[in-house]
């Protein structure tokens, strides 16, 4: 047993941390918070240049074919920002979905440009009747002579506004199962709109009689659910790693503040009530970290057939999502006034922990899945 990162992963981590410090400091992130996409062209280009969008794209499609753990090491550093922008949407979830569900031709067509950040993919699955299960997609695709017509609404779509391709989940007439369609965001009839509120870069996509050709179908019509689940299984632990990074940053800033903030002549960290909050945060953080790492290890070491892998993934998702949320709450208790000042930076995490709370299934969703995989 050895729970340490490899030397090469340590290097990845340092490089990623340096990049974040240089290119995505708190001040930059506060500025990006005000933008529709969450990134700037310059930042996007630089991140693409160091390969952040192609990590999970196999070499034959222009990526670096890294392991999930390698990617997670980088995402953990991104989460510490927290870095906004469609990195996960496109470089992880988008790429994995195309890889799992697409035909060889579709992989060749999309993956190389996703790997260099030229195309940005976002998954448009959830609808006003919100959920992540197999029954949550009801939007229809009506077959025509040479393709399909799509009409309906997708809601709470992450990075909808910056996507060039919307991987749209539909029910194609004549097929029981779910179908994924590669829809160019510029197709007439497609419109995206950012939703305002205590969340970032989540939008609504409306499809008003959108015509797509038959080859827009990713893989075979009606058979996308299984490959999409495989993509989810790999993507989720990476999202978890991002949340672990966020929780770590929240812990770090809280611990530091407890040492330097003086009230009643003492650093506030001397008060046991403050200690309790910080101890809670690190418990959440460590729980998140180790559930995530174990899930990654199971996936990378090809334990896919191991029946524990699914449970591990659900466990990690439930624990890290709850953990990031609670870590932020605890940090607010410790920081009091200064923590709610926007320019302090804590609220970037608070908002991100909320933005990601339901994404790819909220903790309750994953707890229920665990109840199934544990087969009581």
């Amino acid at each position: 047993m050895d729970l340490s990162l490899t030397e090469q992963q340590e290097l990845l981590k340092t490089t990623a941390r340096d990049f974040m410090e240089r290119e995505a400091s708190k001040d930059i992130l506060l500025e990006l918070e005000e933008t529709e996409s969450g990134y700037s062209d310059e930042l996007w280009q630089k991140a693409s240049d160091i390969g952040w969008l192609g990590m999970l794209v196999p070499e034959q499609y222009g990526g670096s074919g890294s392991s999930l753990t390698d990617a997670a090491v980088v995402y953990e550093q991104m989460g510490a920002g927290p870095l906004s922008g469609p990195f996960f949407s496109s470089g992880v979830l988008g790429a994995l979905t195309i890889l799992e569900a697409g035909t060889e031709g579709q992989r060749q067509r999309y993956l190389p440009s996703i790997a260099v950040g030229r195309e940005i993919a976002a998954l448009a699955l959830t609808e006003p009747d919100y959920g992540w299960g197999p029954d949550s997609v009801s939007m229809r695709a009506q077959p025509t002579d040479n393709g399909y017509v799509l009409s309906g609404t997708k809601l709470f779509v992450h990075d909808a506004a910056s996507a060039t391709t919307l991987i749209t989940a539909v029910r194609a007439r004549g097929h029981e199962g779910m179908t994924l369609m590669m829809v160019d965001a510029n197709t007439p009839g497609v419109s995206t709109r950012l939703l305002s509120g205590f969340m970032g870069w989540v939008g609504e996509v409306t499809y008003d009689s959108v015509e797509v050709s038959a080859d827009a179908v990713l893989g075979e019509p009606g058979s996308a659910w299984q490959p999409l689940q495989r993509a989810f299984q790999k993507a989720i632990p990476i999202l978890c790693a991002y949340q672990v990074g966020g929780s770590q940053a929240v812990f770090d800033m809280t611990l530091e503040y407890s040492r330097t903030r003086i009230q009643f002549g003492n650093p506030i960290g001397r008060f046991q009530r403050v200690q309790d909050h910080i101890v809670n945060i690190i418990n959440h953080l460590d729980a998140a970290r180790w559930t995530t790492y174990e899930a990654l290890w199971k996936l990378d070491s090809d334990r896919l057939t191991d029946n524990g892998v699914e449970t591990s993934i659900h466990l990690a998702k439930a624990v890290t999502t709850e953990g990031y949320y609670q870590a932020c709450n605890g940090a607010h208790e410790v920081h009091a006034g200064i923590g709610v000042m926007k320019d302090y930076g804590l609220t970037l995490h608070t908002q991100m922990s909320r933005t990601l709370y339901h994404y790819l299934g909220d903790p309750r969703f994953h707890r229920k899945r665990m109840a199934e995989t544990l087969d009581f």
Partner: protein, 410 residues
């Protein structure tokens, strides 16, 4: 024991009078946005005008003594006023003001006759709006550690320093503030309170950018500010409670701020949430029919009921002149921490709908999204949740022989 407000004939007559008056005098185009920072200046002016009209009738601070411009009414009347205003989602005063409940009430206890005559009528009649200026960058929970200095110079005091997290949007006419009058003096024996007219030269107000301004129990606060004092000259006659006696005054002020005043208002959030849950569909049916959602809805209901009862108890205790101990900070503590738990439950119940105020999809006029932010921010004003626990412990005599007494309210 009787929880039901029993109304006397006199009260019901009063109710009719209030109801008619409100119908004629509350402008119907007054917006009451979920985030009080969204209140426009025009609306603010209308709220102020309504406040003055209420003040004119003695209904703005109904139980404050008539000799100082209050209504001189009984608690029974105050209850009726509260209830009737609640029908308009309004409270007394109908805008953010720390004057009547905190500053005015403290002056009533600690001011001299001349000060009561000068300062109280404008407050109780709604002619001036007062902000409370307590917190500083280095003095939050540790209020006794304020550093802003007030130095006697002839008939004046000259004030220099900085206050943060104070006030609201759209300005005020005066500030109620605690200063340090003896930097070398013993702790708790070196502080003094002043009323500072807002137009005094040397004051600069800079808005702060917060997650949301949050509430302090009463009407929404709008945004918060930093206020800089640069050689601000205040007549010595504006010193309340005597030089270096500020901590005594503070105990009165804080007692009220910590929730001892109580409230009989309902928390409308729960009604809004229930309505939302009946409307929002998942898997084709209202989420309120889902047994798991029902459990969470009940969690929220339980939290809200306990909060309501603590507020109700304190309201009764205060007005029935019962001796208060841990009850004030308890109600404050519970409201703060249950707010956080309710926020989490609502996030689970509504899913991402809880996070958006998008007019097309949100069915709560922004209230749910605002609550996701305000329940975090509300942990801090008037003393953090943890500080409420500290005070409760002292009042209960945990680990000490002598229980700390509640601050003087009259």
């Amino acid at each position: 024991m009787d929880f039901e407000p029993r109304y006397t004939e006199e009260q019901q007559t009063f109710r009719t009078e209030v109801r008619d008056w409100l119908k004629d005098n509350v402008p119907d185009d007054l917006a009451n946005p979920a985030d009080s920072a969204d209140t426009t200046y025009d609306d603010y002016l209308q709220y102020r005008a309504l406040g003055r009209d209420l003040g004119e009738k003695g209904w703005l601070w109904p139980t404050a003594p008539t000799e100082y411009g209050g209504g001189g009414l009984t608690i029974d009347h105050a209850i009726v006023l509260d209830e009737e205003l609640d029908e308009y989602s309004l409270s007394l005063p109908p805008y953010y003001d720390s004057g009547g409940r905190l500053g005015g009430a403290s002056i009533l206890v600690w001011g001299d006759d001349d000060q009561k005559e000068r300062f109280l009528p404008p407050i109780f009649k709604g002619e001036v709006r007062t902000w409370q200026l307590l917190t500083e960058p280095n003095a939050g929970s540790d209020l006794a550690g304020v550093q802003i200095s007030a130095v006697r110079d002839g008939d004046d005091y000259v004030i220099n320093g900085q206050k943060i997290f104070v006030g609201s949007s759209h300005g005020a006419e005066q500030y109620w503030t605690i200063t340090c009058t003896d930097p070398d003096g013993d702790r708790h024996q070196n502080l003094s309170w002043f009323i500072v007219p807002a137009e005094t030269p040397g004051l600069t107000v800079v808005p702060m950018d917060l997650l949301i301004a949050g509430g302090e129990g009463g009407a929404g606060t709008g945004h918060k500010n930093t206020i800089f004092f640069d050689n601000v000259r205040v007549p010595a006659s504006n010193l309340i409670g005597g030089e270096n006696n500020g901590w005594q005054v503070a105990t009165t002020h804080l007692e009220l701020e910590h929730g001892s005043g109580g409230t009989i208002r309902r928390n409308r959030l729960v009604d809004r949430l229930f309505d939302y849950a009946r409307e929002l569909k998942r898997d084709g049916q209202p989420i309120s029919k889902d047994p798991e959602v029902q459990e969470l809805l009940v969690d929220v209901f339980v939290e809200a009921e306990i909060s309501r009862l603590f507020g109700l108890r304190n309201y009764w205790m205060r007005h029935a002149h019962q001796k208060l101990a841990h009850e004030g900070p308890q109600s404050s503590y519970y409201r703060k921490t249950s707010g956080l738990r309710m926020g989490e439950a609502i996030l689970k119940i509504l899913g991402p709908y809880a996070l958006t105020d998008d007019p097309k999809w949100d069915k709560s006029d922004s209230h749910m999204e605002v609550f996701q932010r305000s329940s975090i921010v509300a942990l801090h004003p008037g003393g953090t949740a943890e500080i409420q626990k500290v005070i409760m412990s002292r009042r209960l005599g945990i680990g000490r022989q002598v229980r700390e007494q509640a601050g003087r309210l009259a």
